[in-house]
């Protein structure tokens, strides 16, 4: 699942319409839109780093984060350098203005965007900002709320230039601008979604797990022995060594189950010695 955090509905509009996301009615402090078949969820959080952080925390808590889930932040920003309105940037450095803390999302994937640092402020950028930077109000909040569940490699920050600190566009203009930027962002997002759809969860089959648990019981394993046994079985599976047939034979001949922990320990030792 890719979770995308947008501050405003107008910033999320292109995602909601393109992927026909449905609104969930069970969230009150944020708006959640999703298409579970495509593996996409959009959180509309309201403006500001605190709201964004709170929304990520609530969603993470309630919706659970799976191992491969991603957290993206897509939104508009101001630029303190020359860049046409609608230019899309990927942020490689997030500077939180109120605290002075800096965060670095890992940029591990090929992407078509220019990279820049973004400064997250409590209020919109005005006056004489430091040149060469982007200014937003959410990125650092999303990063901090997401870091312990997503890590720096599963978070991406995409910002679209909407102004230069001298007045922000109105809602209609913002939606228009983001919809247009969507044409650059969507193909990039699509690559990740297609991968997500084809991703196979490798899980040990239920029967295999039950069989292993039976073996743990039948060898009267202590915690250490259980750990050793599991490691042995894991290695055998990787090395294509079929120990199961051998063990089934011992079940057939009454060698298994063992009668005591001592016997179990001896059996485990014998099993190990026979393998190498």
């Amino acid at each position: 699942m890719i979770h995308i955090v947008c501050a405003l509905y107008q910033e999320a509009h292109f995602l909601i319409t393109h992927y026909q996301l449905k609104k969930r009615n069970d969230f009150h402090r944020l708006q959640v839109f999703e298409n579970t078949e495509r593996g996409l969820r959009v959180l509309v959080t309201g403006v500001g780093m605190l709201r964004a952080a709170m929304a990520v925390s609530i969603a993470t808590e309630r919706l659970k984060v799976a191992e491969h889930d991603l957290l993206w932040n897509i939104g508009s920003c101001a630029a303190s350098f020359e860049a046409s309105p609608g230019t899309v940037f990927l942020c490689n450095k997030l500077i939180e203005e109120p605290t002075g803390c800096t965060f670095y999302p890992d940029i591990l994937y090929r992407h078509p965007f220019e990279e820049r640092a973004v400064v997250s402020r409590m209020t919109p950028m005005t006056g004489e900002p430091e040149p060469g930077l982007l200014y937003d109000m959410e990125a650092s909040g999303v990063y901090q709320a997401g870091i312990s569940d997503y890590g720096p490699h599963r978070m991406l920050f995409i910002k679209v230039v909407s102004d230069y600190g001298k007045g922000t566009p109105d809602a209609t203009a913002l939606q228009c601008l983001m919809d247009e930027a969507g044409e650059t962002i969507l193909p990039f997002l699509e690559r990740f979604l297609s991968f997500h759809a084809g991703q196979e969860q490798s899980a040990t089959g239920q029967t295999e797990e039950e069989w292993e648990q039976r073996l743990v019981r039948d060898l009267h394993c202590s915690v250490t022995m259980e750990h050793e046994l599991m490691q042995l079985l894991r290695y055998c599976a990787l090395a294509d060594r079929n120990v199961r047939d051998e063990l089934e034979r011992d079940y057939g001949q009454g060698v298994l189950p063992c009668r005591s922990k001592r016997e179990g320990k001896q059996y485990l030792e014998k099993l190990k010695a026979g393998l190498f």
């Binding site: 670095y104 890992d106 994937y109 870091i147 991968f195 290695y235 190990k272």
Partner: protein, 346 residues
């Protein structure tokens, strides 16, 4: 995202360069930056701001490497750890002017030790030299400079081996070991052989190379490079350490030895020209192994059911002894026993 297709990753040698503000104008920083025009550069306060972030994915990072240029402020030398072979040297140290490696061995302890897969290069080598010179005033020093990386593999980029060589030339009391799995023959032409710079080639059978030592040169390339170095007068150590178990390990390691025999023969050389050899089976601290197993869940090497002997994971004693003994016997027929280093010197 582990199985995301390789072309999704930002794959050139380094896709981004992070640079500590403090060393921005260091000549070595500037030299290095010149080699990577057009790559995004990101200024940072301290390398740990990037290297020590929580919850990083070492495996993914190895597929899209970042270069972090930094200045080391302290800890220029460390005393050798007990699991390291000290080759009979009393004052055994290692130093780490680069952290992480461009190769990707499944069993590499760096994966257990570092929170990040990105490569950190400390540009202030002069401070290392100063620290070593100071130690040399107290006693002779045996220094491994390529423990937390593979410096020879990075030589074209960093030229660090050359700089250590220049330094060692002025300090006969210093012996330096450059441990490598590289096969960069060009390095033999860039420097003069010195008796106190030992090039230690870690050799593994081709099957192990393919299975567990990703991105490293083939067994044959490493052997050829090592023998070429010997032919040119460089002191070369051959390391059969770590020896790794596979079902037919005897046959695999036997073929490796024969590969070396052939290479020497072709150049009309003998094993006598090998400075020394080291033998040891794979071993790693329990703590590193725990992390390594989580990072390499499908690796035969990391998932082997090792035994924990005093906090060190190693092969079951019988197997360990069998493998090491076998190798020592094989080597004894080729090279004088005094030149074979083992945990318990033969």
């Amino acid at each position: 995202m582990r199985s995301l297709k390789p072309d999704y990753f930002d794959a050139p040698v380094f896709s981004h360069i992070y640079i500590e503000k403090e060393i921005l104008s260091h000549p070595r920083t500037r030299q290095l930056l010149e080699r990577f025009p057009g790559i995004p550069r990101i200024e940072i306060d301290h390398y740990k701001d990037v290297f020590c972030r929580q919850k990083q994915d070492y495996g993914l990072q190895q597929r899209s490497r970042k270069l972090i240029l930094a200045g080391r402020r302290e800890h220029f030398l460390y005393e050798g750890a007990p699991v390291c072979q000290d080759f009979g040297n009393r004052h055994f140290y290692y130093s780490s002017c680069v952290m992480n490696c461009i190769y990707d061995c499944e069993y590499c302890y760096l994966k257990g030790m570092y929170p990040s897969g990105h490569l950190v290069v400390f540009v202030n080598l002069e401070d290392y030299f100063r620290a070593v010179a100071q130690k040399l005033r107290e006693h002779p020093v045996y220094l491994c400079v390529s423990y937390d990386s593979d410096l020879a593999a990075l030589e074209k980029l960093l030229g660090t081996c050359e700089l250590w060589t220049e330094f060692a030339a002025k300090h006969p009391d210093l012996t330096i070991e450059i441990r490598t799995k590289s096969a960069n023959g060009a390095m033999w032409d860039r420097q003069e052989p010195l008796p106190n710079i030992v090039y230690a080639f870690t050799l593994s059978p081709q099957r192990i190379v393919e299975q567990s030592e990703h991105r490293t040169p083939s067994a044959q390339a490493r052997v050829s490079c090592a023998v070429e170095g010997m032919a040119k007068g460089f002191p070369v150590r051959l390391c059969f350490d770590p020896m790794l178990y596979c079902a037919d390990w005897q046959q695999e390691y036997g073929s490796l030895l024969q590969q070396i025999d052939r290479e020497l023969e072709e150049r009309q050389m003998t094993w006598e020209q090998v400075r020394d050899v080291s033998v040891g089976t794979f071993r790693i601290s329990k703590e590193y192994m725990r992390i390594l197993r989580a990072k390499e869940p499908d690796s035969l090497v990391t998932q082997f059911p090792y035994e924990n002997v005093d906090g060190v994971y190693q092969y079951p004693p019988k197997l360990k002894q069998q493998m090491e003994q076998w190798m020592i016997e094989e080597l004894s027929g080729r090279i004088s026993k005094e030149c074979i280093y083992h945990e318990y010197r033969t």
